[in-house]
Symmetry: C2
Subunit: 137 residues, 2 copies
């Protein structure tokens, strides 16, 4: 039996966040002590590790809820779980591509500023004038 603080230390998830996950239905309401404090079993520790891991991978609370729903039915085809992971992968790749364009452009903007005052600052001119951009966005 772990207190919320134990769980927090073991998983690196802050206590208010654990309560939030419970509220969002990712964790089941745990047992309580006589004084109404949460007492978690090992299964909950493992589930929280799962949630933490999935969040680190960028899955939304909703996706995680779906995965938890799936894992309750070990006999069902795993195509859904696979689909969720693939969707997540696609979205991550998309975000990377967008950020790389930004990187390129910010690089140009931030390294080309040779002006002494704001009046001739390349940063500000580049932000004002889209035509200075290397590409569309």
């Amino acid at each position: 039996m772990y207190s919320i603080g134990d769980l927090s230390r073991r998983t690196g998830v802050k206590a208010p966040t654990i309560r939030y996950y419970e509220q969002m239905g990712l964790l089941e309401a745990p047992e309580r002590s006589e004084g109404n404090q949460r007492r978690f079993a090992k299964a909950e520790l493992e589930r929280l590790a799962f949630i933490r891991h999935a969040r680190d991978l960028g899955l939304t609370i909703n996706s995680i809820r779906q995965l938890i729903g799936l894992s309750g039915h070990a006999d069902r085809p795993c195509a859904d779980a696979d689909r969720i992971a693939k969707e997540q992968l696609a979205s991550v790749r998309d975000r990377i591509a967008k950020l790389q364009k930004l990187e390129e452009e910010l690089e140009r903007i931030a390294t080309c500023c040779t002006g002494e005052t704001v009046g001739d600052c390349y940063v500000i001119r580049a932000l004002s004038d889209h035509s200075l951009c290397g590409h569309e966005h």
Copy 2:
């Protein structure tokens, strides 16, 4: 003189978002028609394009407010503008690095699932078990 809809079409920023920017102090309160509708001058169109561009680059509303503050004083050194751009670049690079780790891991997870049912689904096992990860996160 542009209506809010004109401005929206010209900059690709939705009308409610334009009002929001005004409320946040990024745009000055524009003139109004007799019937209390916003009428924007060309300067506001340009400033909105600036804001749009900066938002596309991932700058926060706060950073943009700072830049707008700077650009009002064309005689001040542009080191601040430069710093804001550099900070932004660093944060973008950071995000890219993190996402690339995720990509790697999701790739492994999503392409290795050969199980037929959730019970032996690699996706779910990998999410539960951090030790299956290729690296720390």
